[in-house]
């Protein structure tokens, strides 16, 4: 395998290049260990898993010996599983929408202030994305509970009479997913916004554009590719999210990752769990390919008409 990747090394001018060539060859030797490790970690486990998905469960964690697509047929014809696929997709799309709505203005704001405050804010956001998830979920549980801050504030403001359920339902999961993706999106979009030259914004102001007009007619279009990329990233993360739906959904919101864990750990139905996982991965990959194709087409169109229309 490595031999295919390590391409032609002989150059046209061996006498002049031999020194550099030798050193390149020596550097290449370093690749053996990472390649072997990565390939082993990738190929063998996945292969076992894919094979498993084509065998029927016969109880006690055993699978039958015969090759069958029964697991896939079951998932794609059973309303229960189709609903789970729909629920996961729907929640991921909603969470992505809200996450972008929060993350892009935040990224823009942080990029516009400079110095220590910006560094501090970026550090806080980074910490929020890196500190282990259960702690975050514990905090959200306290905040969103029936006697939590959100409900008490709303009651004090007389917006609601009795506590509203923000946990163990789709709203809770949605809030958890937004919490999960927003920090990464802010950091990613911050890098995007930084590439927009400041003088464009200044030019817009000089010509009398309002803040709102500048934001929606200059900043957002300039960052369009980055925003699309961020949407895709957020969607991918949500489709694979496991801890937030499990805790904030209280076991009542069954997304694909939650079902996969239940099938494998609780029911020991390995075949079906494997098939569900493979469908999830394929579905997410397909979405990426479709969006990727759209982005490429859009880019090509823009190259043809550089000043947009």
């Amino acid at each position: 395998m490595a031999n295919d990747i390590i391409g032609p090394s002989a150059t046209l001018l061996p006498s002049m290049m031999s020194d550099k060539d030798d050193s390149a060859k020596q550097w290449r030797r370093l690749l053996w260990f990472p390649l072997t490790l990565s390939a082993t970690l990738l190929i063998f486990p996945q292969l076992t898993f894919v094979t498993m998905s084509f065998h029927r469960d016969i109880g006690m964690g055993q699978v039958s010996a015969d090759f069958t697509i029964a697991n896939y047929v079951k998932i794609l014809t059973d309303v229960f599983y189709l609903r789970a696929i729909w629920e996961t997709t729907y929640l991921s799309a909603c969470a992505t929408f809200w996450a972008i709505l929060l993350a892009f203005p935040t990224a823009y704001w942080i990029a516009s202030i400079e110095g220590r405050v910006a560094t501090l804010l970026l550090t806080l956001i980074l910490a929020s994305s890196l500190i282990t998830v259960p702690i975050k979920l514990m905090g959200l549980n306290i905040i969103l509970g029936p006697s939590g801050i959100v409900n008490r504030t709303l009651e004090a403001l007389s917006v609601i009479r009795s506590p509203v359920a923000l946990l163990n339902n789709e709203i809770g999961v949605l809030i958890g997913l937004v919490q999960y993706t927003v920090p990464i999106l802010v950091l990613m979009l911050f890098a995007v916004v930084q590439t927009i030259p400041k003088y464009l914004e200044e030019a817009a102001y000089i010509h009398g554009a309002s803040n709102t007009a500048t934001f929606f007619q200059l900043i957002v279009p300039m960052a369009k590719q980055g925003i699309l990329g961020a949407c895709l990233l957020s969607f991918n993360m949500c489709m694979g999210a496991f801890t937030s739906p499990l805790i904030l959904g209280g076991g009542r919101v069954l997304t694909l990752p939650v079902l996969i864990q239940q099938k494998i750990i609780n029911d020991a139905d390995y075949g079906l769990g494997a098939a569900l996982s493979i469908l999830l991965v394929c579905f997410v990959l397909l979405m990426n390919v479709v969006v990727g194709a759209y982005v490429m087409r859009d880019r090509r169109r823009r190259v043809n008409r550089p000043y947009g229309g």
Binding site: P34, T132, M138
Partner: protein, 271 residues
């Protein structure tokens, strides 16, 4: 400049992101032995810190050993991969790096399920069970963190100055000396950032580890996660607060050592 909508959204977003940690830390300081969580706390005490059960300390040690081992192996492997692909002047270097990034396409929960199945098969075929030791968790964690270390390091290798290395060699330094005195220091921020990501992902992981933990190999996040669901005790709040503080210190420390630019996540998950 006039106050803007974006500023307002930004402030609210940051409050939204930080509030869970503040609430947990606040509730951990509440007085008395009540099993009800109260925020804001009704009084201040460290009682819940004194109640921390020793199994959390064991789990913390397991997570620490696991995280450090994962980070060391992943960083060394990432360095070899990055140097081999970039310095080896491979024509297919980009394709090779995409191959290394493939695990990013697989949701963590699927990776956990995959490795559990793989270990079952391994036991059935060879009798060797990696889950009897930390090896089981280590291999799965390596799988998920390698893309991060390889991306972080390979992004910086082309920026290192080849002329300096050539100068060193012309002046008679051996290859080994050149590597340690010239190349390595130039790569140090990237290595730190890669190791940091590998550690923090491995240390905090739930979705992969939840499939692979055993009573003797219990990681701290999985223990917190399970106790939160099935056996809630107020001292979990204290443990969580301590973990948040340690993580925060680590994040700030790495940022000082390697620079903020290095620590901000590159957009690896997309490419």
């Amino acid at each position: 400049m006039r106050p803007r909508m974006t500023t307002l959204i930004g402030i609210l977003t940051i409050l939204f992101l930080v509030s869970p940690f503040v609430v947990v830390a606040g509730a951990s300081l509440d007085t008395g032995n009540v099993f009800q969580i109260r925020f804001p706390p009704h009084g201040l005490s460290l009682a819940r810190y004194a109640e921390i059960h020793s199994r959390y300390l064991y789990a913390f040690r397991t997570s620490l050993v696991l995280g450090l081992t994962t980070a060391t192996v992943a960083t060394a492997t990432g360095l070899m991969a990055a140097l081999g692909a970039m310095r080896g002047r491979l024509i297919a270097a980009e394709a090779l790096l995409s191959f290394f990034r493939m695990p990013l396409q697989i949701p963590f929960v699927v990776t956990g399920a995959v490795y559990l199945q793989f270990y079952y098969q391994l036991v059935a075929m060879t009798g060797f069970n990696p889950m009897n030791s930390l090896l089981g968790l280590l291999l799965a964690h390596l799988f998920i963190v390698l893309p991060y270390t390889i991306s972080a390091i390979s992004a910086v290798v082309p920026r290192t100055d080849n002329a300096l290395e050539e100068a060193a060699e012309t002046l008679g330094a051996t290859q080994w000396t050149t590597f340690w005195r010239i190349t390595f220091p130039m790569l140090r921020p990237a290595l730190l950032a890669g190791a940091f990501y590998a550690f923090i992902i491995s240390f905090g992981d739930v979705p992969v580890s939840i499939f692979l933990v055993t009573p003797t190999n219990m990681t701290l996040p999985v223990l917190i996660f399970q106790d939160m669901r099935f056996d809630f005790q107020p001292s979990i709040l204290a443990v969580s607060t301590l973990v948040s503080i340690i993580s925060m210190v680590l994040i700030v420390g790495i940022q000082k050592l390697a620079g903020l630019d290095m620590v901000l996540p590159p957009n690896q998950r997309l490419s």
